[in-house]
Symmetry: none
Subunit: 140 residues, 4 copies
């Protein structure tokens, strides 16, 4: 997976990295156990200070997306959800409202919004259970 930094963005560099790795994991582009580039390596390839990379990795470790093993490197963690039901729903609701606000503001119709969402949703890695359209993975 390739990371890309927009130095012009209002989003801080370390948050851009956090967001991209979160998305990579959610899409299944990064699989549990997979090794990420080392702090120094990524620092060199993105032309960013090592501390900035470390900050992103630390953040992702604290929230459980990554495991870091000093001396070995940084790895994608096994998925797990620890927060309680209500908090989970509240958070999704807020995110949904924010997304819908943007869709309306951009002038999309209800149907257009849904079409886009469904199209993108197919690329993500949903938890087991009642997926309706699920993601097909190439057999190998």
């Amino acid at each position: 997976m390739e990371l890309r930094i927009e130095t012009t963005s209002r989003l801080p560099i370390y948050r851009q990295i956090v967001a991209q790795i979160q998305e990579g994991v959610a899409r299944g582009l990064l699989e549990p156990g997979e090794k990420l580039p080392s702090v120094r390596e990524l620092s060199r390839s993105l032309v960013v200070n090592p501390n900035t990379i470390a900050k992103a990795y630390t953040e992702l470790e604290r929230e459980g997306t990554l495991n870091t093993r000093p001396g070995l490197g940084v790895f994608v963690a096994a998925p797990h959800v620890e927060i309680i039901r209500e908090a989970r729903e509240r958070r999704l609701r807020d995110k949904a409202d924010r997304f819908l606000t943007e869709a309306v503001r951009l002038g999309f119709s209800h149907e257009e919004m849904l079409r886009m969402l469904e199209e993108r949703a197919g690329q993500f890695q949903w938890t087991k259970g009642q997926n309706t359209s699920g993601r097909k993975k190439d057999p190998e």
Copy 2:
């Protein structure tokens, strides 16, 4: 429409105000031409520095959500979408991806995510037709 400030949020106050007014417009709670409270009024009722309110209004004016008519007050602008088709789609796609990432991270299934989204979508004010390139702007 009532604005509510979450002082504990990491989102700056002026951005909270911007977001809530954007959402109010998207939901139809604020209609084009409607008058908003003055900077001083809102500053008093929210117990927030007037500069902060002014900053929010300036931001909303800059992006076309509000119109300030000197001496008269601040009004909700007529809806208009100016950005080009490509940029519009790209933005919605990015927002969709971010929303989907969060849904996956929170452990929801594809179905659960859709159910939540549809439920909330019903509360928003969608444009009717499926415009592909954005609507006409009011002649001025």
Copy 3:
């Protein structure tokens, strides 16, 4: 509440600060809404780099113990528990085992250990409900 740093400790400075503030909150020495010293202030009084203080505050904010409001300062957050029941129990069990191991290693008897624990427990701020000995607060 007074913070004290042991520069000789194997525990990093920022973690010492985190631990002491967590303990202060758990004891009720720091109450929700209370303002903490600013990053620069604390940095001066502890003779520690501001970045180190900021790191401690960031950590405490991320885990929900503090709220930081840029431009205003850092405040003690309202208490809340979001993690699910099983994870909570597992964590307490691990901490209990670690504590008991230390007590045995130090050569205390079961009764001595209990006596110490009860004595200290009286100084903490337990959640509502079935407290047996509860903490009395001076009327004021």
Copy 4:
């Protein structure tokens, strides 16, 4: 007794080994005089660098939990408590405070905390009398 390494833990591997052996002794799963696996054996069975095992054993020997007899192997040492009364109490007090802080932070009530502690305490190997200043060391 079986050792288990948690590669995802932020606790360094050698410290995990130290902690587990300490706990094993405190629980009575490892008895004085018992022989432990050699560095090389343990290194193979845990799939861990021999240096890491050696570091853990060295640490445990330094603090008196283990004895290395060159050419024979590594053995669990006879229990002994050497540190002075004051330091002993201070250490237990600190550990108790840390444990109580965690219990409060996790939202447990005083009663729940006690119940958990008592349940786990039953599995440990307590010294009988209430020695105030530490036990006699085996003559050698």
